[in-house]
């Protein structure tokens, strides 16, 4: 799957697991930060997203520095999934 398609997929996943207000849904681009200064997701939202990603793509994102970097924005999540797919 190409990066761009993957990003679209992640965005729809993000919308399904979090209850973002309608006006914010339109504003998500690949580089919008997921946490502070961006979508402002809380830790439960992130858990929901991580579990969904794990189910769909088999990628495990942990609570470590690498995991934090992967969860910076939609593009970085896509990078992590592509990296995971290349190595499995």
């Amino acid at each position: 799957m190409r990066h761009q398609e993957l990003c679209q997929d992640i965005k729809s996943l993000l919308l399904s697991v979090t209850n973002l207000p309608a006006n914010e849904q339109k504003e998500i681009d690949n580089h919008t930060p997921l946490f502070k200064g961006g979508l402002g997701l809380d830790s439960i939202d992130v858990l929901e997203l991580v579990v969904s990603l794990e189910k769909r793509y088999g990628v495990k994102i942990r609570n470590d520095e690498k995991g934090q970097q992967a969860l910076a924005n939609v593009a970085s999540i896509a990078d992590e999934i592509l990296h995971h797919q290349r190595h499995t």
Partner: protein, 517 residues
């Protein structure tokens, strides 16, 4: 620090006879002088006028107490950019000649609280009332019990304070007790305290507004409260009190020196005997907690006076926690599992402030080869947590569930490693995800976090509690674990199921409900 950044403050209430003498003495040693007129009704106003622009004045319309006057002084100092305040009493018991000692000390150590230790034994001290000597020894002892630091004169009003917000926040007293409270808070906040010897003079007809009954009662109440705050913090039960300031960086050994001493001397038995008295007394002085307990019993249609039993069992539980500090393996033996439930790895356990959750951790470590991570809402005594981990041979860990970052993700990491997670869901301080559910006929907020985690990860959900059966030092703790709804349900249904279980547990034996808020 420059001398011009130091303010000398003189709080006064009807000391017209001595005030002018004190101000003149102070002005000879320092230019920045503030007089706080705490609603004086004598000739104070006229006296202050004679000093014109030599002094700064803050006036209270009504008398509010020495603590309130000192706090006004602090606000004034902060507003005008002073970095330190030296306070001196207006009754002329202190000698302005000692001021340079303070100024020198403050310039060298601007971060420290400096206390002038009055030499009450010297011949120059004049007519020192016996009650003052006793009062000083009494306060010194209690400050030691609350902080582990034995100071020589905790009642001295001649002091230097750094103008730092943290020390002043959350102080509850407006009277003389304020001066004691501020010392304890400063020590809890790791502020250095230095002592310097000073002279004192008590004239024969000294005017003091210290009311031996009222003020001693206030001091006793304050000490009881501070002692218990310290004790609760040592054994990681700090959440009990509604206060902004807690003993933060407290050293367990130092902080509970007195209790540890008694524990070493006579073990649990002696501590049961000794600690019951202040805790029983606490029942009579902490109105908020008592009111919360009365309301709890009213909702159960039981006489509100029964609330005393909860304070009693709570006291016993605090002392049993002290046993964890002392690495008493017998405490582990005393926790028994009431139901033979198979606990599977990767489960989520939810409890409440019913019985003792730390001892729950000890009990859980005995039932199976599962590892436990107890998630807490606030940072608690790290040494205590380490003891628990050591005592259970790394089987039980305590993890801080912060309100920032990826802590739900941290919970998942633990689940993935096969840990069972323990949560308290009946308190919501610092929790963003809450749910309101009727509990004992009244709407109450609960944390939604553990139920969300269970719903998202599909981890099995259990209710757990651990209560003391009996009131003897040897009485066992009974650990109960009960499976709740399967976690295919959504978080809200899980939370409702938990509250139902909590309510039936509480109704069956209300004595162990320790949620005093």
């Amino acid at each position: 620090m420059l001398p011009s950044e130091i303010l000398v403050a003189i709080p006064t209430y009807n000391n017209a006879k001595t005030l002018a003498h004190v101000i003149v003495g102070v002005l000879q040693k320092h230019n920045h002088v503030l007089v706080i007129d705490d609603g004086c009704t004598d000739e104070t106003t006229a006296i202050l006028l004679t000093f014109d622009k030599q002094i700064q004045i803050v006036r209270h319309e009504k008398n509010q107490g020495k603590g309130a006057a000192l706090y006004s002084g602090f606000l004034h100092a902060k507003k005008h950019g002073y970095r330190s305040i030296i306070t001196i009493d207006a009754d002329a018991q202190h000698q302005p000649q000692d001021l340079p000692l303070f100024i020198e000390k403050v310039i060298a150590r601007p971060d420290a609280l400096v206390i002038g230790v009055r030499d009450m034994q010297s011949q120059q001290a004049g007519f020192v009332p016996k009650s003052s000597l006793f009062g000083r020894a009494f306060s010194n002892f209690w400050v030691f019990a609350e902080t582990g630091r034995l100071l020589k004169d905790t009642q001295s009003g001649f002091r230097a304070y750094p103008v730092v917000e943290a020390i002043y926040q959350g102080l509850s007293q407006k009277s003389y007790a304020y001066e004691i409270e501020i010392i304890v808070h400063a020590l809890w906040q790791n502020c250095s305290i230095l002592e310097i010897p000073i002279q004192v003079y008590y004239p024969k007809n000294r005017i003091s507004h210290f009311d031996p009954w009222q003020d001693n009662l206030k001091l006793t109440k304050l000490h009881t409260r501070l002692f218990l705050m310290n004790f609760c913090s040592i054994v990681s039960f700090g959440n009990l009190f509604r206060t902004k300031v807690r003993p933060l960086a407290i050293n367990e050994k130092k902080g509970a020196a007195l209790l540890h001493f008694f524990f070493a001397l006579g073990g649990t038995r002696l501590c049961y005997l000794l600690a019951i008295f202040p805790l029983g007394f606490f029942y009579f002085v902490d109105h908020q907690s008592r009111r919360a307990m009365s309301s709890f019993y009213k909702r159960l249609h039981i006489a509100p006076s029964r609330g005393f039993r909860n304070f009693f069992y709570f006291a016993l539980s605090l002392i049993d926690r002290l046993a964890i500090c002392h690495d008493q393996r017998t405490i582990k033996q005393r926790v028994t599992c009431a139901r033979n439930t198979q606990l599977v790895s990767g489960s989520i356990l939810v409890g409440g402030h019913y019985g003792d959750w730390l001892l729950c951790g000890l009990g859980l470590s005995k039932i199976a080869s599962v590892k436990i991570a107890l998630f807490v809402n606030q940072k608690i005594n790290p040494q205590m947590m380490q003891r628990l981990t050591d005592l259970t041979q790394d089987q039980v860990k305590v993890v801080f569930l912060g309100d920032e970052g990826n802590n739900a993700l941290l919970a998942k990491d633990y689940l993935d490693q096969g840990y069972c997670l323990g949560f308290m869901a009946d308190r919501v301080e610092g929790i963003a995800r809450k749910i309101t559910i009727p509990f004992l006929g009244q709407e109450k907020d609960f944390s939604l976090i553990p139920f969300k985690i269970a719903a998202i990860t599909g981890a099995p959900l259990f209710f757990f509690s651990c209560k003391k059966a009996g009131f003897m030092p040897s009485s066992p703790y009974l650990l109960a674990i009960k499976p709740l709804l399967a976690s295919e349900h959504e978080a809200k249904s899980l939370a409702h199921c938990y509250v139902k279980e909590l309510e039936s547990t509480v109704r069956a034996d209300p004595r162990h409900w320790f949620n005093f808020v």
